[in-house]
């Protein structure tokens, strides 16, 4: 099936199989590998992207169902003002080790900061409970997001 969508601000058209997930579409067809695939069944959050402004598990979305939608992956958020602050705070707070979960963490952190003003650590922990990190123990990630929220207010 032919689908056309807006990917990181540019129009793209591809022929896809109905069973193709958005995650596979982004990585395999479009070569955008910032989106990582962990569990592939919605439990780990590594593949989270933005569809129509909403945080979306790209392993739980079919590419065909995204026909006509606007999609942003981490690659397309380089100059995003919230992402700029998050990137700096993740660096300053040592919020990553191996980096596998980081793209999903950053997308979700941005979503949290766009919805909630200056979230406290408890709120961030609840909001982040769908993102799994196996290195940091989360403390430094939560710290970075809280700090970014305070900086942005």
């Amino acid at each position: 099936m032919n689908i056309t969508l807006e990917l990181n601000g540019a129009k793209v058209t591809h022929d896809v199989e109905p069973r193709e997930t958005l995650a596979d579409f982004l990585r395999e067809r479009c070569g955008l590998t910032a989106t990582h695939l962990g569990c592939e069944h919605g439990a780990c959050g590594a593949c989270t992207v933005v569809v129509e402004g909403q945080a979306t598990r790209s392993c739980l979305a079919l590419a065909v169902m995204c026909d006509g939608r606007s999609i942003f992956t981490l690659e397309g958020l380089r100059t995003d003002s919230v992402m700029e602050v998050l990137r700096r705070q993740f660096h300053a707070c040592h919020a990553l080790q191996c980096g596998f979960c980081t793209p999903g963490m950053l997308i979700m952190a941005r979503d949290i900061l766009r919805r909630l003003r200056r979230p406290d650590a408890r709120t961030v922990r609840h909001e982040l409970s769908g993102q799994i990190c196996r290195c940091t123990g989360y403390a430094s990630i939560v710290k970075a997001i809280v700090a970014a929220g305070q900086e942005l207010q």
Binding site: M1, E17, P18, R19, E20, T21, D24, E40, H41, G42, G45, T48, Q54, A55, T56, R57, C59, L60, A61, L62, V64, M65, D67, M108, D111, H126, E127, S129, G130
Partner: protein, 276 residues
Amino acid sequence: MKSAPFEYVRPRTVAEASAALAQDGIAASAIAGGQSLIPMLNLRVALTDLLVDISRLEELKAVRETSGGLELGALTTHAAIEDGKVPDLFGGLMRRVAGQISYRAVRNYGTIGGSVAFADPAADWPPCLIALGTRVRVRGPKGARSEPVAEFVRGAYSTSLAPGEIIVGFDIPRPPAPLRWGFAKVARKSGAFAESIAVATARAAESSVVLAGASLHARLLPSASKHVAASNGSEEALRAAIASDLDAIASTADAYQRRLHTATVLKAVREMRAQR
């Protein structure tokens, strides 16, 4: 990991979708948010020949507040309810339930109609909707019908939906007085399906205590509901009422599960009573 191949159609009306789903000789599945169906297809625990995408059907998105209550379209997402984007006639109960379903990225897609149609024994919406006295509206090849959610959900992953039938929406009656409610949920980790969910509601002399996770589908607890409606009663008497309900609906529950369900019901009832 990907699903076995299937065909995909995106009908423009409920009637077209219904016709696509009712075709003889093929396994067809409706997809709305897909947050349960897509992983099941990918893990190949579900198989389908045809996926009928109902996620863009405007007829399933209608939300209307009427004198009788709230008409809630089947495609209303958990996130829309969580964020208060639909009228809240129920003192925050639905917002509280919505905000604790899975994770935000899933709540952005998961729909209330999909949750009820899928009928997971531990799903969050059936106990809430039953405690609110909700009816589900369905349309299919034989026309439209409406049924209480309590009767619509028949068992684990089982409903009264016939081939080609689609949930259009829900009619949730307006509580006659400010609704008092309590909600308690125990899950091993936040966002996981619950092991026990209890919802208690009271309006005037009428009370409902509904429990999910204890049996194949969410059930009204008749003894506990009667106890709560009758009086402020002692906790011992309420515990005895819950015990007799559990004997009836969860006879195979072990000692831990009985303590767990008793605790969630007590917590929900206490929270409701504190709003007196």
